[in-house]
């Protein structure tokens, strides 16, 4: 293994969190920074030809190539894990920008009490209401700690929306349940298509509080505090699973990369797959990492020495690399010992109601976060007496741009045929007369849901795949049933001619797409007993190792995680620049 020249900071992964850290450290310090990204370079220009549903939407051209590395899955420790041979239930990105290139840009904040979910639940309902075998815990930081950083995220991405709580003042048209915002959104809400506007009017009529989705796709031309200008969205409908060809949707390559590229102290090396984080074990000093080893596209292996390692390689791979590197004590579900791999969650996310209408929706038009949502059933925003679950989630109605291969074929329940003339006729009629009410809810953490290394299946380099052990519990089933009923009520109130309802979660299904918001594994917390890293992402066992991303979340929020991931990254960057780089040691 060839040893390369030392850098001050090596960042593993060139997605949202890794590149934000590279930008912050690169512009605020003179440190030499190297980002190692296993995929290829990507740019707005390379997306001009990608509006091809087959290759991108169906064959998943922008996603991690499962042939070389995937994950394995089992429902419980008694079951044999099998590889997810083609990604379907979540879609990890690849290349510079990572999943931040193909996202929808839907950017809500978490509700304030989400960060203290255990304490708040016990206070309000009593410990007897906590689910059996739960692994719930507070974050150790609060919404108020994160609020200034959330606001920086709003400005960085140019979020479009309407505040519902501006410095404590309730604002008409926004989300009345949201935490206090220190500033209005930098940009007004996106335009709405017919379906989302119908949902908005109906929800308002039912006494709910619909509000425009916070969107990282711009409603108008915007220049962010870094001087990066992006154009307003043209509603072409190619966000999710596609890169934005005009840069209206905030993506790491159009928002962070242009700043990074101007900095001589930051370099991005593509085609570099990190295999291990290296630790110095001599002289009894095991409390520091020394760099990483990686393999390039030609199969050459290198040791990249670094003064500090930032692990930002997406949720599941963060845990996997720490497990492969022997850093931290692997979680043992049987005994509860160890922390690495615990609290695996996957946002409870499903199409609660598919509504069929007698009017066309023109749903080929849209954008990833051009829509309306309502938080009336989020968190603890509603009266839980009479329901048998904790927490909740949001309903969303989007005009994301409906594409024909993925969307053709949904027919009202009474049509039993799924091929042939009867099905074809019904599906042609309903293709543009359909709308879906999506539910996105919290997923509590449980002792039995975790990550470890698979004993059988390997990646292309012979390293063990990471193994997911995950299933739904009574809380999720009860929540799903309740929320499906609410969604059906809304759909009927929208004058749907027929409503198909979600059949239920069943066992965890690797074939149903349910958001790419897998979370946990390297969770943050207040002590090495209950977490892998502190609230700054600093590893408890190695003070110069920092972990970023959704792997830090002790449980899954109803909110899409990216704004929270970026807010945490900003907070860590501040602590690095203001404290750690000056005096080292444990960040408190």
């Amino acid at each position: 293994m060839k040893t390369l020249p030392r850098v001050d900071v090596v960042i593993v992964g060139g997605g949202w969190s890794g590149l934000l850290m590279a930008k912050e450290l690169g512009t605020r310090t003179a440190l030499s920074i190297l980002v190692l990204e296993r995929g290829a370079a990507q740019s707005t220009e390379s997306y001009a030809d990608d509006m091809d549903e087959l290759d991108y939407g169906v064959r998943l051209k922008m996603m991690q190539d499962a042939s070389g590395e995937t994950v394995t899955f089992r429902h419980n420790a008694g079951e044999r894990a099998l590889p997810i041979r083609q990604f379907a239930n979540f879609l990890p990105g690849t290349g510079v920008g990572g999943a931040g290139e193909h996202w929808n840009g839907l950017c809500p904040r978490n509700v304030p009490d989400f960060f203290a979910v255990l304490t708040r639940t016990k206070e309000k309902y009593g410990a007897k209401w906590l689910p059996e075998n739960h692994a719930m815990q507070d974050w150790g930081i609060t919404y108020d700690d994160l609020e200034p950083h959330y606001t920086r995220v709003d400005r960085l991405l140019g979020l479009c929306g309407k505040a519902g709580n501006l410095r404590g003042q309730k604002m008409e048209g926004g989300n009345p349940f949201e935490g206090r915002r220190s500033e209005e959104y930098p940009n007004p809400p996106t335009k709405h298509g017919y379906y989302a506007s119908l949902f908005r009017e109906t929800c308002a009529g039912l006494g709910y509080h619909p509000y425009p989705m916070p969107s990282a796709g711009l409603s108008r031309t915007y220049t962010n505090p870094d001087g990066i200008t992006r154009p307003g969205c043209v509603y072409c409908g190619y966000c999710e699973r596609y890169g934005c060809m005009i840069g209206a949707k905030a993506q790491p390559t159009n928002t962070l990369l242009p700043v990074i590229e101007k900095k001589k102290n930051v370099a991005i090396r593509t085609g570099a797959t990190v295999r291990r984080i290296m630790r110095a074990m001599k002289n009894g000093d095991a409390a520091r990492v020394t760099g990483v080893s990686y393999i390039d596209g030609k199969g050459e292996e290198y040791f990249q020495p670094a003064g500090m390692v930032v692990l930002a390689s997406w949720i599941l791979n963060n845990t996997r690399l720490l497990l492969l590197s022997g850093i931290g004590e692997p979680y043992d579900a049987a005994t509860g010992r160890g922390t690495l791999g615990r609290n695996l969650t996957h946002q409870v996310h499903f199409g609660a109601a598919t509504a069929f209408f007698d009017k066309p929706m023109n749903r080929f038009m849209g954008a990833g976060a051009a829509g309306t949502m309502t938080a009336d059933f989020d968190g603890d925003n509603f009266d839980h007496s009479g329901v048998k679950f904790l927490r909740g989630g949001v309903f969303q109605a989007l005009n994301t741009g409906a594409h024909p291969i993925g969307e053709f074929g949904a027919v009202p329940g009474p049509v039993k045929a799924w091929w042939g003339g009867e099905w074809k006729k019904a599906a042609i009629e309903t293709f543009d007369r359909t709308g879906r009410i999506i539910f996105s809810g919290e997923h509590l953490s449980y002792q039995g849901n975790f990550l470890d290394l698979d004993p059988v299946y390997k990646d292309r380099n012979g390293d063990a795949l990471v193994r997911m052990t995950l299933d739904w519990h009574a809380n999720e089933h009860a929540m799903t049933e309740f929320m499906t009923g609410k969604a059906a009520e809304i759909a009927r109130a929208m004058n749907a001619t027929h409503v198909n309802v979600f059949p239920g979660l069943g066992r965890y299904d690797t074939q149903r797409y349910q958001s790419t918001h897998v979370q946990g594994g390297t969770i943050l917390g207040t002590s090495p007993e209950n977490s892998v890293v502190n609230t700054y992402g600093q590893h408890w066992d190695a003070e110069n190792l920092f972990v970023l991303g959704g792997s830090l979340f002790p449980s899954a929020g109803a909110a899409n995680p990216t704004p929270t991931i970026l807010a945490l990254t900003y907070r860590t960057a501040d602590a690095l620049v203001e404290k750690y780089l000056k005096s080292g040691g444990r960040l408190e």
Partner: protein
């Protein structure tokens, strides 16, 4: 070395799909219940000969017939035959997808895994088709399925409804109906026009919040037109 075989689309629109073999015999696909029409040079419809990349002529005939029952050409509009679904599937199977280039294919495999684990078998899409077509065709000789009546074909398909092969065939039929024409299906954008989808339209900024409750149906364009140059599909990658 495989024999060169061709599948041919009638360029005149809804004229059906014609297979030519090397001896010049032409057979109009999917003409159930009728004697096969001669599609010789005297036909008014201009035809485009497309060499098959993976299927044999007989396999293509069966695929076209089966896709034509999944998505029939009938009073509700054109179907798999007019869209060239068989050509689309042939190209997909010949390309990286057909060889499972992007699926995790390390063993051990578990052929009988529960549905929540997804397809866990060892066979590639090519192998699944080859075996599935053999079974389907074998009912009445090599291309016998294509010579059955429509209702007999439906019965035969119903018998394999639960198979992996049928799941792929159905999914690929939908793909071939509605993919960008660059992939060989959705010929003349017949699939898109059937459902009012305008293709990759680059700018809807002035229309997204208008036309509420009314059909807005701009003229369909293909990706090559929208991008201003030809775009290659992944099936054409080396």
């Amino acid at each position: 070395m495989r024999r060169r075989e061709f599948l041919t689309v009638a360029a005149g629109g809804l004229g059906g799909v014609v297979v030519y073999s090397l001896d010049g015999k032409a057979l109009l696909l999917g003409a159930q219940g009728k004697a096969p029409e001669k599609a010789n040079g005297k036909s008014k419809d201009k035809v485009v000969r497309i060499p098959l990349r993976f299927f044999t002529e007989q396999e293509a005939v069966v695929v076209a017939a089966a896709a034509g029952r999944i998505f029939p050409s009938d009073e509700s509009g054109p179907g798999a035959k007019e869209a060239g679904v068989a050509i689309y599937i042939d190209r997909q199977l010949a390309g990286p997808y057909g060889l499972d280039a992007h699926r995790y294919t390390q063993g051990p495999f578990e052929e009988n895994a529960a549905a929540e684990f997804g397809y866990q078998g060892a066979a590639t899409p090519r192998e699944i088709y080859r075996a599935g077509l053999k079974e389907l065709a074998g009912l009445k000789g090599p291309a016998g399925f294509a010579r059955l009546s429509a209702s007999e074909q439906d019965d035969a398909l119903r018998k394999i409804e639960a198979s992996n092969f049928f799941a792929l065939l159905r999914q690929h039929t939908i793909e071939g109906m509605f993919c960008d024409p660059l992939h060989g299906g959705n010929v003349d954008m017949v699939g898109w026009q059937l459902i009012g989808y305008p293709g990759p339209r680059m700018n809807n900024a002035e229309d997204i919040d208008k036309h509420y409750g009314e059909a807005f149906r701009p003229k369909a364009i293909r990706l090559g037109e929208a991008a201003g140059h030809a775009v290659r599909g992944s099936e054409d990658e080396k």
